[in-house]
């Protein structure tokens, strides 16, 4: 059975997959192309179609998630524009480095190894902080910190405190009461862009932790601002691919229909779930992501295509585990809050 020329089973599968990705995207501000492009490649789509459709989907989802975070007051536009400027410059320099590696024939090896190590290192760092913080909630900021306006000094990571201590004018006042030098923001943006351009990835998994751990903005604002930036990077990227006709709307439309719902749920969950509860899952997802990429690369080297499927299974399994944890934690929090007082409306 078909609808708009697409098999109904494919529509249902893409919508369900979109729901899963949207949930992660709305909650963490990352996870789009990381999941979609490998899945489409394993399903047999051409590389340019998989990359282009993944980017177009990320663009659509980031629009939805940004609108939702804007409603929650979790987007810092000033920081977002500065990040776009710094990231764009960084991406250009990163691409130059990549081209140089291509010329000497080392691009694939260096990029794959760097990607695995970076993903693994960020995953380890976040997991370590979450485990170290434990129940004392020392591991980071609670997700509803932005609602309180000002951020407690104890909630700001040490590296961010150090960066904020460099008072090189002009100083910028960001959401959550954070004051940081413009040059520090541009430097962090440049570095994240450099990695993004060098590795050829969207960069949400680098930028979101960088906004929190290096600049010190509360996690919800880091997520919202990161998504705001992805609207532009995803929009421009997918437009460039769409000119060559590589974007397949039959893939993007159902994925977006599912992710729109997931992104709303994920963004709403940021106001419910304590970050310390979920941070460890996020770190584990990145670690599993690193293992999945390593498995895929090994499969390419020893010419075993079955390892592509194993890699995808690890990524999808990790995504299901984390999104399931977000949903369960949100429901548990709602139950802990108990019945609403009379006259109060639900979100």
């Amino acid at each position: 059975m078909e609808l708009f020329g697409i098999a109904l089973s494919m529509l249902a599968m893409f919508s369900g997959f979109g729901l899963l990705i949207g949930l992660l995207f709305g909650f963490f501000g990352m996870g789009g192309s990381f999941l979609v492009t490998p899945a489409l490649l394993v399903m047999g789509y051409e590389t340019d179609v998989a990359v282009a459709s993944g980017l177009a989907f990320v663009f659509g989802t980031s629009v939805i998630a940004t609108l939702k975070h804007r409603d929650l007051g979790q987007v810092d536009y000033k920081l977002g524009v500065l990040m776009i400027a710094g990231t764009t410059a960084g991406i250009e320099v990163g691409k130059m480095g990549l081209h140089w590696l291509q010329d000497i024939g080392l691009a694939n090896t260096v990029v794959s190894v760097s990607y695995v190590f970076l993903l693994g290192a960020i995953g380890l760092f976040i997991t370590y902080n979450a485990v170290k913080g434990g129940d004392d909630d020392d591991g980071g900021v609670s997700h509803d910190a932005a609602d309180d306006g000002e951020l407690d000094a104890d909630d700001i990571p040490d590296i961010a405190k150090k960066i904020q201590s460099y008072r090189v004018p002009p100083m910028m006042k960001l959401r959550g009461g954070v004051r940081v030098s413009l040059w520090m923001i541009l430097a962090v943006a440049f570095l994240t862009g450099l990695l993004s351009g060098f590795l050829g990835v969207g960069g949400g998994f680098i930028r979101m932790p960088a906004l929190f751990y290096l600049i010190g903005v509360p996690v919800p604002v880091a997520v919202g601002t990161d998504l705001f930036e992805i609207v532009f990077s995803g929009g421009i990227g997918s437009f460039l691919y769409a000119i060559d006709g590589a974007v397949d709307l039959a893939i993007v439309a159902p994925l977006l229909a599912g992710s729109a719902l997931g992104a709303r749920m994920g963004a709403a969950a940021t106001s419910l779930v304590e970050e310390s509860e979920i941070k460890v899952y996020f770190g584990v997802m990145l670690l599993l992501g690193a293992i999945a990429v390593a498995v895929r690369e090994i499969g390419g080297v020893i010419e075993m295509p079955v390892l592509d499927v194993v890699s995808l299974a690890i990524i999808v399994g990790a995504a299901m585990l984390v999104s399931g944890a977000v949903v369960v934690s949100s429901i548990r929090e709602l139950r802990a809050q108990g019945p609403r007082p009379t006259g109060q409306t639900a979100d």
Binding site: F59, V63, I64, K68, D244, G245, V247, L334, P339, A346
Partner: protein, 49 residues
């Protein structure tokens, strides 16, 4: 017009990305409406009321 020529690829690309943007906005407001109508009931159920 004005001596500026835009290739068909650019027009097609812009149309396609425009469609994705329109779909995203329609879905955002559509699901928003759904959340307003069904949200309180679902939240109450999840709260265990």
């Amino acid at each position: 017009m004005f001596g500026i020529e835009v290739s068909q690829g650019v027009i097609d690309g812009a149309t396609l990305i425009g469609l994705v943007l329109v779909e995203a906005i329609v879905l955002y407001f559509g699901y928003g409406l759904l959340e307003k109508v069904l949200g309180p009931t679902v939240t109450d159920v999840l709260r265990g009321e």
